[in-house]
Symmetry: C2
């Protein structure tokens, strides 16, 4: 035992322009400073129901089963996979970055029969590639990442749900990096299960994973309910499927907890619920289209600014997420020294990278509360200064001007996909 | 889509005197309203290290591996079990209430070979019973609940760790309900893995699960690490054991994330970390002995007050937790009508019950920020009034007087175990 108490929590005020977590909306922080309610207090269950209604709008879905998983975004991914995938279930996974690899890592632990579409980091799968793989492998479940922050790319999902239904495949998409800043059109795309987090475009803290589940996916998951005396009440279809390997991530139980049945499961993380609810309220007050446009402007401004510095942006313009931009670290520039000076002199964080891209690209985020003109301009201005200090030759001030023009051009700009 | 926005988060100010969640220390709520830091920011990793040092003191242990699981208390239980128990592992579980049943439910999903010590709800296992069961079943893992809120009883743990080591058994204890208000003497008892939550005696919100892991348990868990390209770096002992069935709850990965290696796993739930850190700071500033004494006084005062009303307290005095008291609902009194009027007229929540005790007992909590003299007296005074309104005959005011005397008697009172 050390006997140390340490001082109060008083983090420095950093401008977090990396791939997330990012600065949280002050309104969300205030909502999270409210006191507890009893778990089955009618005021508490009303907040739970309101949160469900709010996230239906955020996910653009009518799915009754739209709620929160108590854990980080990764908890949402695992809850979806462990509930949809039985040992031996054949699953087709698109792997084009770190989080696609995570999907197959989790599926492997479940004992799934894993088939993959393996792409270079930064590529996306075409609808034709997906259909060909489905025809070849005949999976029960298809899974992919919408926006993979490790590569900054967004997998196009138009038509993917219809394709999966054509071949009787359940579909899962992780939208952690995109939800709240890029359209995540769950019903339009026809995806069965989509999960996310708060710490990217939603402008909240990590620790809560919104999830939405279609009727057909819910029916399958409920078929995996098993009766256990003293623990839970049986549904009519209980026990048809293989029991879900996790209690905490058993979505049948979590759905029952969030339903009018209110069957006791975990104790809902009240503070995170308050935060998630406020994140959604802010988004819906802003309006989805205005919100997406703001993120597109931010992404276009970051891109224009970086290009005006003569830097090369990572990946295809057609598939880049609006909210995180990868940029190649120039030759003879020490990437970590730049990040260090950005943090120490300017209190601005930009991101490093993972896997094959480590040391090769930086990742600059502009999302949620930080997808704002002044924050983009401040970041680009600081980066220009720091790069110049590293001997990287460029005219000063042009990046900021270019970014400002791109921001103002808004929807007319073509460098970020719509 | 409903199109509804709903109002700001503004919960009514309830006095939560049930089994938890309870009212959170205002200092904790303020700590949780601080903004984010980057995940690998040195300020963030310093907070993580400080939180580890603080929880070593809270758990009374020198265990290097003492950290937080991002999820509710149930997440801590599942992380411990899925990491300690392989499919086919023989586990001995004490079941004397709802949460003992939960342990076996989770172990069942893992595919464990489950052996049990089954007791009536409200009983505890003696050391002799545990030793006899260990000798009979020769388990690899022993698991029990310290304080089961469903029964308000605390399982005595003195000597249990030594017993387990004698028979080469790894031990796990869930201390969700007791940590922060009753001694949880991890090293003194010699328990290998102990997990908890914040929403009981720690005076925090649900959503973070402190956990501590002994060297021998950590060594076993690390032996279950498997290498996966692009996902994690291998340790020297990787791959000896059966791979852990969960990624999110893979304690080998979570330990690596919290170690100086900082191997990326989930994104730490920053807000919950701030909250957990402040809960521990408050406890250590108060001092462990003062803290435990305050909870004993609160429990003795609740007990004395209930008895002065002529009510019968549930369970053996020798084994009751200090922080939650069960009380039999008197004949001809409508238990739910009492709870409703307590909430609606007094804004005070007292708890209902589970399983065989549902409708038979109420549970009254006095813990963390609510283990205070005035809150106990207010609750008892209100309960007297409400019971009188239900036609329950008793002299008025005696409960409060009796509670006050018990509070002031403090350590001299014998109705709550020390």
């Amino acid at each position: 035992m050390t006997g140390a108490f340490f001082g109060p929590t008083d983090p420095p005020q950093r401008l977090l322009m990396g791939p997330g977590p990012i600065n949280v909306y002050p309104r969300v922080l205030r909502a999270m400073s409210m006191d507890m309610l009893g778990q089955f207090d009618p005021e508490m269950t009303a907040y739970m129901n309101e949160t469900m209604a709010l996230y239906r709008q955020v996910f653009m879905t009518d799915n009754r089963r739209t709620f929160l998983i108590d854990g980080t975004a990764r908890a949402g991914i695992e809850a979806a996979l462990v509930s949809l995938v039985e040992p031996g279930t054949r699953i087709l996974i698109v792997r084009a970055g770190r989080f696609g690899l995570l999907l197959s890592e989790i599926a492997g632990r479940i004992g799934a029969d894993i088939r993959t579409i393996d792409l270079e980091w930064g590529e996306v799968a075409s609808l034709e590639q997906i259909e060909a793989a489905i025809k070849e492998h005949r999976p029960r479940v298809f899974a992919c990442i919408h926006g993979d922050t490790s590569t900054t790319m967004a997998q196009p999902l138009e038509g993917v749900g219809a394709l999966c239904r054509k071949y009787d495949v359940l579909s899962y998409v992780d939208a952690t990096a995109t939800l709240g800043g890029n359209p995540v059109d769950v019903d339009g795309w026809g995806i069965d299960v989509v999960s996310a987090g708060l710490q990217k475009c939603m402008g909240g803290p990590p620790g809560s994973a919104p999830i939405t589940i279609s009727e057909q996916a819910a029916e399958f998951i409920f078929s995996r309910r098993h009766v256990e005396q003293g623990i839970r009440v049986a549904g009519t279809q209980d026990g048809q499927g293989v029991r879900i390997g996790s209690n905490y991530f058993d979505l049948a139980m979590v759905m029952d907890y969030w339903s009018e049945k209110r069957l006791n499961h975990h104790t809902e993380a009240t503070t995170m619920l308050y935060g998630a609810r406020e994140c959604a309220r802010i988004m819906l007050e802003e309006g989805l289209e205005t919100r997406f446009d703001r993120h597109r402007r931010a992404g276009a401004a970051v891109t224009a600014g970086l290009r005006a510095m003569g830097l090369r942006v990572f990946g295809h313009d057609a598939y880049r997420m609006a909210n995180v931009t990868g940029v190649w670290i120039p030759d003879r520039v020490d990437g970590e020294a730049v990040r260090l000076r950005m943090r120490e002199d300017f209190e601005i964080e930009i991101g490093t990278a993972f896997g094959p891209l480590i040391g090769k690209i930086w990742r600059i985020g502009a999302m949620g509360y930080n997808a704002m003109k002044h924050k983009v301009l401040i970041t680009l201005g600081a980066l220009e200064v720091v790069l110049a200090g590293q001997g990287y030759p460029m005219p000063r001030g042009e990046a900021v001007d270019a970014a400002l023009m791109a921001w103002d051009a808004g929807a007319a700009d073509e460098t970020i996909r719509k």
